[in-house]
Amino acid sequence: MLDEVSFSVDTGEIFGYLGPNGAGKTTTLRVLLGLLSPTSGTAIVLDADLSKDDSMRRRVGVLMENNGLYDRLTARENLEYYARLYEVNRPGNRVTELLDFVGLTERAGDMVGNFSTGMKRKLGIARAILHEPEILFLDEPTSGLDPEAQHMVRELILRLSRVESMTVFLNSHNLDEVQRICSRVAILHQGRIRALDSIQHLTSAGKKTGFSITLADTTQASEAEDLLSSFGGIGEITRNGNVLGMMLVTIHAHEVVTTLVKNGIWVEEARIQKRSLEEIYLDVMRQAEGDVA
């Protein structure tokens, strides 16, 4: 069940859609693809409602959880079938090109039923981009893939976005992957969007900011810690050799550095520590659970 879900995705953007199982990610995907009708509101993709316009589906690529492949057909037959459904020009050439691209040329004549999960996923990705869609909907594209294949898929998604200006809507549980490749994310919980922002903004925003200072002289560490402790607006100072870690609550990073320098403490490096997407996700989930309770 979705509730007041509202967002837009820009052309060429890689948009991450996150949430726990049952949050409504697949339902959102189905609504966007015109497979389910919303009880109220509209889902517009490429200026069209896909539930009302079959021809618009030609401009959309989809990789669902099951890859959309037939076990009793060969890899080549599977791709050729979809190429003909999408009326791809010179389907034979395009299929050969994609089989090569995903490294399955040597298995082109084998039944897909004999493929490993990873091979099926690669073939599924080739199928999804076969007709060069303008927007690509991916549901957990790297699940079941080995690290090398995951890297390949991530590179492919980035290339499609940067070079071909393809818009990518990515449903994923893999927070590290989303942080690496997505420009914006929405975090869903029980059918409602709890966070919607750019990764950059989400990871640098928050009431507290992690900050670390590396001192040039380790002997000044104790003095620096005492000085900062007497400062208002800083919490949780930790010391590890010449590195001081702290949370900035009401004070800015430059003020901390200026104070230290004015007091004769040599600062070698100062770094604002961004929160990981995982931390943000877990915070959002905790907050959402609290709201629900």
């Binding site: 497979l35 589906r57 959309v60 989809v62 099951n66 009793r72 057909l73 003909r84 199928r127």
Partner: protein, 234 residues
């Protein structure tokens, strides 16, 4: 090539590669085509008329059963595996998808029905010692009417498999099997000793098949992507 033909060709190719299904179908046709004939022909006076009757109802029953067997592979299997969801995201309209699948079931179903007719003819000829050839109305019935019935029944079964959930589909399977048994018995009752296959009978059967096709084609208006998606197995 139209998208309907693309779907039909894929379904035929996939059915041919489904060894278990094809073996079951061939076994069924073989057993009924060979072993039923001597039992039916024994004690009959007019073997020619009896061959016509067999060609009329036995080949029809076998054809419809083949259609049923293949429909599960063509319609239901895609729903069970979830591949249908990807297909629903392609430019294929629901009607194109449905027609393509019906055609994909009808072509191999009809070929097996023709094969069963040949088997019945060969077995009957071997059993009686004379060359038995079906009459012209029965020939028309086998070549044209039976494929129409296969299309109509597989279209109807496929339609219901699309709109029903997996549990309801299991119940439907039993209903269909009993329906086919009932159909066979009903036609045999209808085709008593006095029954002969005339052009009128064949025309009536053809009319019924066409009506069924039209009704089923009309029913496809009520197919919706949402209905198919919400009845997928989890």
């Amino acid at each position: 090539m139209s998208r309907i033909m693309v779907v039909a060709e894929k379904e035929v190719r996939q059915l041919i590669k489904s060894r278990n299904v094809m073996l079951s179908a061939l076994l069924f046709v073989g057993v009924f085509g060979i072993f039923t004939v001597p039992a039916v022909l024994s004690g009959m006076g007019d073997t020619g008329a009896m061959m016509d009757t067999l060609g009329f109802y036995l080949v029809l029953t076998l054809g419809v059963f083949m259609g049923y067997l293949f429909t599960a592979q063509v319609f239901l299997r895609e729903k069970q595996s979830g591949v249908i969801e990807t297909l629903l995201c392609t430019p294929l309209s629901l009607r194109e998808l449905w027609f393509g699948k019906v055609l994909g079931v009808t072509i191999p179903g009809a070929i097996l029905a023709y094969f069963s007719a040949i088997l019945i003819m060969v077995t009957g000829s071997a059993f009686t010692g004379q060359t038995l050839v079906p009459s012209l109305p029965v020939l028309f019935h086998i070549i044209v009417v039976i494929p129409a019935f296969i299309a109509a029944t597989s279209g109807l079964i496929g339609f219901t498999q699309f709109i029903l959930g997996m549990r309801e589909n299991q119940i439907l399977n039993f209903v269909i099997i009993f329906g086919i048994i009932f159909l066979t018995t009903f036609i045999r009752e209808l085709t008593g000793p006095e029954f002969s296959v005339t052009w009128t009978v064949v025309a009536a059967a053809f009319g019924l098949a066409l009506l069924l096709i039209l009704v089923t084609a009309w029913l496809t208006r009520f197919l919706s992507r949402e209905r198919i998606i919400t009845t997928l197995s989890e």
